[in-house]
């Protein structure tokens, strides 16, 4: 039984990783076809960086991920604070349902709806070419917000309410109480929300596909354009570099996490989860 279960785990993981390993292997393949491995080369890696487009796309991705995750974290922290402290049940329900919308909708609907908003607004105000960095920033912040709020709200619930009363009694103003008592207490939630939205933003393709313009391309959009028609081995090289970066980061996070016992659990995007 134990053997069967191990064999099963092994087979499924082997299947899960086979395509990824093939890409890594063939990114070093000299002959530039997929049927056989003829010799080791770094040619495709040089090919990848020849045009500078890949570096440009990486830079754009990082700028967008940093700014949208920061903006979403600020807006989301303030909103969670207000939702958590409100006594008005109706207000809480409405806020939470609205927050859930971008998570429940498939990405393509979110992308399309944002695009129609921008196109509609452009028609109304007689602007052209609204799509670009700013529309991407708005879209990314919007789909990041629910994840920030969902990771911060529970921290407000867990914190000791007496601390707030004590701070207010001892003469703190509401904003001092917020910054000196509450923000430190919910810090783990803020950090995990920030990290999650940063990675979601780096990873997003579908929503960006609809609200972007050719002059501001992120890494996923660049990969999409490059892989549109034919097999490109320089893309295998890029995929290999991305996979290795993720692997290193994931191992580093896990090593750091296993040192700290009560690390905040890493949260992955969940569609249809209900905020409570």
């Amino acid at each position: 039984m134990k053997f069967l279960s191990r064999a099963y785990i092994f087979i499924i993981f082997a299947l899960l990783y086979a395509p990824i390993l093939v890409v890594i292997l063939f990114s070093f393949n000299e002959s530039g076809n997929l049927s056989s491995f003829s010799g080791f080369t770094l040619y495709w890696y040089k090919d990848l960086f020849r045009s500078g487009e890949a570096i440009e796309a990486l830079k754009n991705s990082l700028i967008l991920a940093l700014s949208s995750s920061a903006l979403a974290t600020i807006l989301g922290t303030l909103a969670s604070f207000s939702i958590a402290h409100s006594k008005n049940k109706y207000y809480q329900t409405v806020m939470k349902s609205v927050t859930n919308i971008p998570m429940m909708n498939p990405d393509i609907v979110t992308g399309v709806s944002m695009m129609l908003l921008f196109v509609g607004a452009a028609l109304m105000f007689k602007l052209d070419n609204v799509l670009g960095f700013w529309t991407m920033l708005i879209a990314h912040t919007t789909f990041n917000l629910p994840y920030v709020i969902l990771s911060i709200l529970p921290k407000f619930k867990q914190m000791d309410k007496h601390l707030i009363e004590a701070a207010l009694d001892l003469g703190c103003t509401p904003s001092q109480t917020f910054f000196k008592i509450e923000v430190p207490a919910i810090m783990p939630g803020i950090i995990s929300g920030l990290m999650m939205s940063f990675t979601l933003s780096l990873d997003d393709f579908v929503i960006s596909h609809f609200v972007s313009s050719p002059d501001f391309k992120t890494l996923p959009l660049y990969i999409y354009n490059q892989t549109a028609h034919e097999v490109k081995f320089s893309m295998y090289a890029l995929c290999t570099l991305i996979i290795l970066t993720i692997l290193v980061l994931l191992i580093a996070v896990n090593l750091a996490g296993s040192r700290k016992k009560d690390r905040p659990r890493k949260q992955k995007r969940v569609k249809g989860a209900t905020a409570k």
């Binding site: 899960l16 990824i20 807006l75 909103a79 429940m104 695009m115 509401p174 109480t177 295998y236 209900t274």
Partner: protein, 274 residues
């Protein structure tokens, strides 16, 4: 002091309220507006009515994503179960191995699968070498469904695994003490306790599968038309925005209905965050 604080509390959420009105609610209203108007802005049911010509697309997408979801559940549940039974040490390694594909972009994973299945690719070369006839994978129904399964399997396993490890071991002891054999324990104790994980996993596989367009573009060899492809194509040209909006609206409503049905199955209302 009390009133000053509640003023601060209300003011704190105003940026978010404005943001969500502008960028969550308004876009959805725009979808509805485009779906119910023609190019001159006049109210019409034409776009919605014209969807009947897409009924085949809807049925095919629904069929593909249901098959993919079912297969993911059938492969994923046993996998999660086996993983939850291993030692603490190997569990944390397996978790990293399971999370890694989730962090790798869907584009890259689909593209890698394509490398394996491509006409001159490893699998077909291998089959020819062992004397089998040359098979074409790209462009078949099977390849698109396989792509969905391959891309979204980790999203099925993770929530189920999380709810499996959370089960209190004492329930299992109690069930054994009260005379259940291990099969009965599995069906009467473990299954019911993991329903929230299953519902969450099914949602996380079903929703992206039914709305995908990249998988069908790559593995379908350009000949496939799922709902996602239809929407994507309509939005490449401003003329067909209205039809595209109608398709999106209908798909959104279909998904909301299926989510509501699925949430009925899990009586646990708690946020299922893995």
């Amino acid at each position: 002091m009390k009133s000053k604080r509640s003023w601060f509390e209300r003011a704190a959420s105003s940026p978010y309220i404005v943001w969500s009105a502008l960028f969550i609610i308004a876009p959805l209203l725009f979808v509805a507006y485009f779906a119910f108007t023609d190019r001159d802005g006049a109210f019409t049911f034409e776009n919605i009515l014209s969807l009947s010509s897409y009924s085949e697309t809807f049925v095919m997408s629904l069929g593909f994503s249901l098959i993919a979801t079912t297969v993911c559940l059938l492969i994923g549940y046993p996998l999660a179960y086996c993983m939850s039974r291993t030692s603490e040490r190997s569990r944390s390694i397996l978790m990293v191995l399971l999370m890694l594909p989730m962090w790798i972009s869907l584009l890259i994973r689909t593209y890698s699968l394509m490398a394996l299945l491509d006409n001159g690719g490893l699998v077909s070369t291998f089959l020819v070498n062992i004397g089998l006839p040359k098979l074409t994978f790209i462009g078949t129904d099977g390849a698109v469904i396989l792509g969905m399964i391959y891309d979204f399997l980790p999203y099925m396993v993770l929530p189920i695994y999380t709810s499996l490890v959370k089960i209190d071991k004492r329930y299992l002891e109690a069930s054994a003490d009260l005379g259940c054999n291990s099969i009965q324990t599995l069906f009467k104790v473990i299954f019911p306790l993991t329903t929230p994980g299953v519902v969450s996993g099914v949602t996380m596989v079903f929703v992206p599968s039914i709305s995908t367009f990249y998988i069908s573009q790559k593995l379908g060899g350009g000949s496939f038309d799922l709902i996602g492809d239809t929407i994507e194509r309509q939005f490449q040209n401003q003329v067909t925005y209205h039809t595209g909006a109608a398709v999106s609206l209908v798909m959104m409503i279909l998904i909301l209905i299926s989510l509501a049905i699925m949430n009925k199955f899990s009586d646990n209302e708690e946020a299922i965050i893995v």
